[in-house]
Symmetry: C2
Subunit: 134 residues, 2 copies
DNA sequence: CTTGACTCTGGACCACGGTCCAGACTTTAG
DNA sequence: CTAAAGTCTGGACCGTGGTCCAGAGTCAAG
């Protein structure tokens, strides 16, 4: 059931052709076969796999993470899939926390800034110019 | 008052020497002068500016943002500084929102996954394999 | 003066996730 | 049949923010 060319595959998965070849170079997705001409042929399994990659990316997994997930799903190891998802969740928590710290810092400065007057009275500039390093 | 070599400057600002030169290439920081030998010399103004860059980065500004901030602070335009900070705040809000969406997706999946059993019953794999594209 | 530490330049290289290109070949529609 | 559309390969290039290197020259301490 290798009925798709690379262009059809890419369109149906919503990615660029070059991206498909890039994934192949990076061991994420191989064609089901090749024509005598060298043209890649893909089937439903590859389309599913490509969509899997797209969704996992949307969930914040890196391509390396996804390589791991794909090999785990091949192994059918539910426990390890869950662990990987939990680890990624913790990672995302950390990223959110860091951004929130940055946000609070900025928010405080923006609130304190009158938006006019002399540069010396701008708390944003003053904070950036402060002598004590954050 | 050009009393610092590049190494001293870097140490006192807490960055790498290469980073100082990188900033110079990217129009963020120039030496106050050069010795006849070509050695860069920096003063207090450059040290402050470098620390400004470091702090602004910690607040989530890109180097391009910082170039803008530096030129604004030269202009002493408090209103525009505040606008830039507000824009960055909105940007950080958006990044947090996106990560939170991702987090909720993952959280739901992790909660629903029993952590054992057949691969077909793993909601994480099922979501990634779903026919309907997210 | 010597030695070791410092600095200079230009350019290569890293991760990340692609994107784009040329030049050749193949497939498909009409 | 032809012409257009699709695909092939290998490699260059993008942005972001640096890091590292070689080979040469310089500065400071003893």
């Amino acid at each position: 059931m290798s009925n798709l060319g690379i262009g059809q595959l890419a369109r149906r998965a919503g990615v660029a052709i070059d991206t498909v070849r890039y994934y192949e170079r990076n061991d994420l997705l191989s064609p089901a076969g090749r024509l005598a001409s060298g043209y890649r042929r893909y089937g439903e399994a590859e389309l599913k796999r490509l969509r899997f990659i797209r969704r996992a990316k949307a969930l914040g997994f890196t391509l390396e993470d996804i390589r791991g997930l794909l090999s785990l799903s091949d192994e059918r190891s539910v426990a390890r899939i869950k662990q990987a998802a939990e680890a990624k969740l913790a990672d995302i928590d950390r990223r959110i926390d860091e951004l929130e710290r940055i946000r609070e810092g900025l928010r405080t400065l923006v609130k304190a800034c009158p938006g006019h007057g002399r540069a010396e009275s701008c708390p944003i500039l003053n904070a950036l110019n402060a002598e004590d390093a954050p």
